[in-house]
């Protein structure tokens, strides 16, 4: 394949440069935040004794949800053998690697001792702890998808499939354990129970579909999409819509079971979202942008329009980012002791991210985008068995 032409198309187009500048700017914001944290310590974060997990944790969840989702969607092709989905494999797995790395980078600035974690996770493991399983399984998952990507780049589809299956299993196990990190907490009734491990897998699949649509919108922004890719995107659009429908169903029952009969702990957390301090984040971002708008857009166009599918995906990704924030923060707003000085007149605790926390989160997004741009420079992420029409044309003209 013509690498120079490829690089020119993807990266050195004005659009490519713009993405590079944007990602670089976000990364600089993140680095400023990081330095501020390294110099002043956790004082520059707005998390506190009663709300110890803030936007960095929710962003970590967002990134690993994205990674698992990309792995799930890409596995439809090279693990489960649905031919038409093979076209998304390399690009999706590459982004799965970058999202999880960005997630690790963000959480490393939140955990007080990230290096100590690497050592004591191995020499002093607690097998009762979901967070140990989550961390360990995500480590295994990352190794699996890295090797899978390597096999994909070598064109070894058989071993890529084996590693894809291993990555799929590790990813599902890790991701449901992330749900269990919240779901095992008896003290937090709104999180506690089997809902979150299952919900996380579903919402990962939704996120995976959305990101695949966005990646291919970027890839074929300036050129005609090959027919087979177009068909796959149509199928992804339909799958995205179906999964969004199921997600809405899940969400409706989560809201109703949390409000009906005002169960203690659940009710207050849900009301913080429905009619409390997080209501804008819930109704505007999580419900409207995250679910209803994308679902309606695709449903009414029957997923036929790629542009509409991409618009729906962009809306969903913004909404899903807030969905993660709502999930992490709302679960902590109900105080364990009602007389703590931070409890407001509404009986709830408060949290709003500091500029440093927001900076680090933006930096994580920038890092993820930069890695993806770099991957486009270094590798051919198009499916080799289904080269793009431009490449086909080039090959034809050469011959």
């Amino acid at each position: 394949m013509n690498h120079t032409a490829f690089k020119e198309r993807i990266v050195f187009t004005p659009g490519g440069k713009l993405w590079g500048v944007l990602a670089g700017f976000l990364l600089i914001l993140g680095l400023v935040g990081l330095f501020n944290y390294l110099i002043h310590g956790v004082e520059v974060y707005n998390v506190h004794r009663q709300v110890p997990w803030g936007i960095q944790i929710s962003t970590y969840v967002f990134f690993v949800v994205s990674s698992t989702g990309l792995c799930l969607v890409s596995s439809l092709g090279h693990v489960f053998g649905i031919k038409s989905f093979e076209v998304i494999g390399k690009r999706a797995i590459a982004m799965a690697i970058f999202t999880i790395l960005a997630g690790f980078a963000v959480i490393a600035t939140e955990i007080g001792h990230p290096l100590r974690m690497l050592v004591y996770n191995i020499i002093s493991p607690n097998l009762h702890a979901a967070i140990w399983w989550m961390g360990t399984l995500y480590g295994i998952y990352l190794v699996c998808i890295l090797i899978e990507f390597w096999f994909m780049m070598r064109g070894d589809h058989r071993f890529a499939g084996y590693l894809g299956l291993a990555g799929f299993i590790a990813g599902v196990a890790a991701h449901s354990n992330l749900g269990a990190v919240f779901g095992f907490l008896d003290a937090r009734p709104w999180w506690h129970g089997p809902f979150l491990p299952i919900y996380f897998i579903l919402s990962a699949a939704v996120t995976g579909c959305a990101i695949v649509l966005l990646l291919f919108a970027h890839r074929y922004y300036r050129e005609k999409m090959p027919r087979n890719v177009e068909e796959t995107m149509h199928a992804i659009g339909k799958l995205f819509c179906l999964l969004l429908g199921i997600l809405i169903f899940f969400e409706i029952w989560k809201v109703l079971t949390s409000i009906y009969g005002a169960p203690p702990g659940k009710y207050e957390a849900m009301m913080a979202l429905v009619a409390g301090p997080l209501s804008t984040s819930f109704w505007l971002f999580e419900v409207l942008l995250g679910m209803l708008i994308p679902f309606a857009l695709i449903l009414f166009t029957k997923a036929r329009s790629f542009s509409i599918n991409v618009l729906a995906a962009a809306s969903a990704i913004v909404g899903i980012f807030f969905m993660r924030y709502n999930l992490v923060v709302a679960g902590q707003l109900v105080p364990m002791r009602p007389d703590v000085h931070r409890v407001g007149p509404d009986g709830l605790l408060s949290y709003f991210p500091s500029p440093t926390e927001i900076g680090i989160v933006l930096g994580g997004i920038g890092l993820c985008l930069l890695m993806y741009i770099a991957a486009n420079l270094l590798f051919n992420l198009d499916d080799e068995e289904h080269p793009s029409e431009v490449e086909s044309l080039q090959t034809n003209s050469c011959s």
Binding site: I111, G112, A129, I131
Partner: protein
Amino acid sequence: MANEKKKRWVMVIDPSRCIDCKACDVACKRENSLVLEGRDSYRNWISSKGIEGTYPRLKQKFEPSQCQHCSNTPCEHVCPTRATYKTRDGIVRVDYKRCILCKTCITACPYDARFEQHQFKAIDKCTFCEHRIYEGKLPACVDTCPTKVRVFGDLNDPQSEVSKLLAARHWRVLKPEVGTRPNLYYIA
């Protein structure tokens, strides 16, 4: 030592005696050399439980509290590196060296007993003044209390003051519904 009978350290609190002087809080910080860092660094506290009665017979109610040293220990279960552990005699401790500050234990604790202690760069909480009790002393908060709100001892010893108190009086624990089986008892 190996044949020595296991102890079960408990604290019995009579909240009706509490006058909210906060001497327990001060004694705890002094005894454990805790640096004052903002409003989040404290191992024990006194909650105001409102006023009962009608004028002029009014009574302000207080409830001193701290880590409950639960027998079914949620913070120990969730700790990924076993930094939180239970001693042979049931005291819940944090090994600062192993703590990675993931803060999962804070979210797991139904009593808000844990916090990030910048001084130790780790999660911190009450230790029942373990360094004192094996020397035959009482925990600092118990020792200092002017109205003897707190009684500390070994529940496995039927002759201990805590055993006698719990046998003689009605008592309750905080949040029994979460199933943590606390070792702090409140005289009802």
